[in-house]
């Protein structure tokens, strides 16, 4: 069996949409609502290209693993956003938050549409609360195949 075929088989062999049914690890309705609201706010900031404001929510040691598996620092991510051109829309959905004290795990689906294409990805973010404010410390996403 070809490697690529096998990998696809392994990776697609199951489709259990459990994210909507798993209860919160440490139920904190306020924190969960705050994280969901923050996620929507961050998407709006990117769409409106308010990168200076967006930057304020990134931890100094923020790391992103992009859809190609490349590890990017906070500075690299921001430079990429600032160099981008064209209008787009971003719609986070299927948001599920699990909180562990001052740590929150957010999983969800993100639809990004531009004039040229629409891309849907599944992502996982980690937020840490410092002095009452949530900061994004980690993001990893994978592009989903076209439906």
């Amino acid at each position: 069996m070809r490697l690529t075929t096998l990998l696809v088989s392994v990776l697609l062999a199951t489709s259990m949409p459990v994210s909507a049914t798993v209860p919160s690890a440490d139920p904190d309705a306020t924190a969960e609502a705050d994280i969901k609201a923050l996620e929507l706010h961050l998407a709006r900031l990117l769409v409106s290209r308010e990168f200076d404001e967006y930057e304020k929510y990134l931890a100094a040691d923020y790391t992103r693993i992009n859809a190609n598996g490349v590890v990017e620092t906070r500075e690299q991510v921001l430079a990429g956003f600032r160099a981008s051109t064209g209008e787009l829309s971003m719609q986070p959905t299927d948001l599920v938050v699990k909180t562990y004290g001052d740590t929150a795990i957010l999983t969800g689906t993100l639809t990004v549409a531009s004039e040229k294409a629409t891309r849907v990805s599944r992502f996982r973010k980690v937020f840490i609360r410092r002095d009452g404010r949530w900061f994004l410390v980690s993001l990893q996403g994978v592009t989903l195949p076209h439906q």
Binding site: V10, L11, D61, I65, T103, T107, R124, V137, S138, V142
Partner: protein, 127 residues
């Protein structure tokens, strides 16, 4: 001298890999938070039971080895975010494969123990 949090986490990573390769679901279950969530390279989301079933107890997936490198550990209070590169040599339904991934693994310290609470992998080229 007590190990540092980073040392504890690196030991835990090694123990996790050893349990996975050995097919030791009981040991793995103890490392995973009750509300563990894992997103694989196709974007499929697993809870703890689904993860253990698919990757260990079903017997469909068998790891021959798993090697981690470029491990970066960031500890922030009772939380830790680890990124690494993973090299899997395994078989799925009897057919072998050799693949590389980039992974994020998130741990939270609960009642004095680090628990694996979330993970995600992305397939990458070997170099």
């Amino acid at each position: 001298m007590n190990p540092s949090p980073e040392e504890e986490l690196r030991e835990l990573l090694a123990a996790r890999t050893a349990a996975l390769v050995a097919g030791d679901a009981d040991s793995l279950r103890q490392m995973l938070s009750d509300h563990f969530v894992y997103t694989n390279a196709s974007g499929v989301v697993f809870d703890r039971n689904a993860y253990l079933e698919f990757y260990v107890t079903s017997g469909e997936m068998r790891w021959h080895s798993q090697d981690l490198d470029d491990i970066r550990v960031r500890v922030d209070g009772s939380a830790a975010v680890i990124t690494c590169r993973i090299h899997d040599r395994a078989s799925f339904r009897g057919a072998g494969f050799d693949a590389w991934f980039r992974s994020t693994q998130v741990f939270v310290k609960q009642a004095g123990r680090w628990r694996y609470v979330a993970g995600q992998t992305t397939a990458v080229e070997s170099t």
